[in-house]
């Protein structure tokens, strides 16, 4: 089969998008899990502060999420713009 330039670029962009989002999801997934585990620990130790701790957990997770969103943006760019 003959591979043309435009086809090759598209193929590479698709694989790149898959790897970008796939690998990019590992870090935030693990990191946010750690945050949640520590939040549970803290609530177990100090249940009065459950509201404050949940808020802190969510803010921390949102920051950790950002790299996942960067991966998503890069993947979407590769899929639809390139």
């Amino acid at each position: 089969m003959a591979i043309e330039g435009a086809d090759l670029i598209k193929a590479a962009a698709f694989i790149g998008a898959g790897i970008s989002m796939g690998l990019g999801a590992i870090g935030p997934g693990v990191g946010e899990g750690m945050v949640a585990a520590k939040a549970c620990e803290a609530i177990g130790k100090n249940p009065q502060e459950a509201g404050l701790l949940t808020r802190t957990m969510l803010v921390g997770q949102a920051v950790s999420e950002s790299t996942g969103i960067y991966s998503l943006v890069v993947a979407l760019l590769l899929l639809f713009v390139v």
Binding site: K10, G24, A25, G29, G33, A37, A50, L76
Partner: protein, 304 residues
């Protein structure tokens, strides 16, 4: 098979190490601990036995009319089972080990600990079972009516999707199960709350591997129009890779969240409602990246 053996070896090694520690703490009941270690290891072993079965099938099955497409299906099958067995093997080792330690601490509730260990490690095995289902479908389904391009990529992608996604879920489920055995040994009254929290946490930790299974099924059952373009094949391969890799992190992360919650439910049972809520919120956020990965996969399959 090679990949599949990694997980079981690590998991069983962990179980044996904790069993030694347990015997040294309480040598009088070394028989009970030894028995429990073997039961725990047997469960951890099952993931690698699945891999062995698939490897033997792949070796000795005569594939009638060996086509390049069938070769791709068999390769995908090996990938699915090999990767899929890693997480479950390691994960099942944690409850086995913690259960041995727990028995040395509280010999009186040994049978309750063993029951909890078996429930927890059975859930850890589900991702390996998903992988085996996909592997068997890839081996035995008839693809002879499908065009070689781009179906070959869909089949390899189907194997990678379930196989890779199973790593995280198996490992994460094991984290939750391990700490639940520890918790019950510390505070036997908390057993009902601990087991419930563990099961809910594990169920959420399984979802990335269910996403992987879903994408695999789409790749297996959808018929793709023949296309010589490289990009059509690569889109399907990337779809499998994306959900597969994307499932690893959230699977482990959800397991960690469940681990934290289960640990503290055992220590502070009166707060199990708060802890369960926090765990679920935390897991939902951690899950989001797996959902992004699945969205990208679905776009790759259906839109492009």
């Amino acid at each position: 098979m090679g990949l599949g053996a990694i997980g079981a070896a690590i998991g069983e090694g962990y179980t044996a190490a904790q069993a030694n520690l347990a015997v040294s703490r309480n040598p009088k009941i070394s028989g009970d601990i030894f028995k429990n270690m073997l039961v725990g290891q047997a469960v951890a072993e099952s993931a690698s036995i699945f891999a062995l079965v698939i490897a033997i099938l792949l070796l000795f099955l005569d594939a009638p009319g060996a086509t390049p497409l069938k070769a791709a299906a068999l390769f995908g099958s090996g990938l699915s089972m090999g990767f899929g067995a890693i997480g479950s093997g390691i994960g099942s080792g944690f409850p086995g080990g913690q259960c041995c330690l727990g028995i040395s601490r509280q010999p009186a509730i040994g049978s309750r600990l063993t029951t909890n260990m078996l429930i927890g490690s059975a859930v850890c095995q589900t991702p390996a079972i998903f992988s085996m289902v996909v592997a068997l479908m890839l081996i035995f389904m008839d693809f002879s009516n499908s065009p070689l391009f781009p179906t070959w990529a869909a089949l390899i992608g189907a194997g990678m999707s379930t196989g890779l996604a199973a790593i995280g879920s198996g490992y994460g489920g094991g984290l939750a199960a391990g700490v639940s055995c520890d918790g019950i040994a510390r505070n036997p009254e908390s057993v009902a709350n601990v087991t419930t929290t563990m099961l809910v946490g594990q169920a959420v930790a399984q979802t990335p591997s269910i996403f992987g299974l879903l994408v695999s099924f789409i790749l297996l059952f959808k018929t793709f129009p023949e296309s010589q373009a490289l990009s059509a094949s690569m889109a399907l391969l990337a779809a499998g890779l994306c959900t597969g890799l994307g499932g690893i992190g959230p699977g482990i992360g959800n397991g960690m969240a469940a681990e934290g919650a289960v640990k503290w439910v055992a220590r502070n049972t009166s707060r199990s409602g708060d802890l369960m809520r926090t765990m679920l919120v935390g897991q939902a956020v951690s899950q989001s990246t797996a959902i992004y990965a699945m969205v990208i996969s679905l776009v790759l399959i259906f839109v492009l």
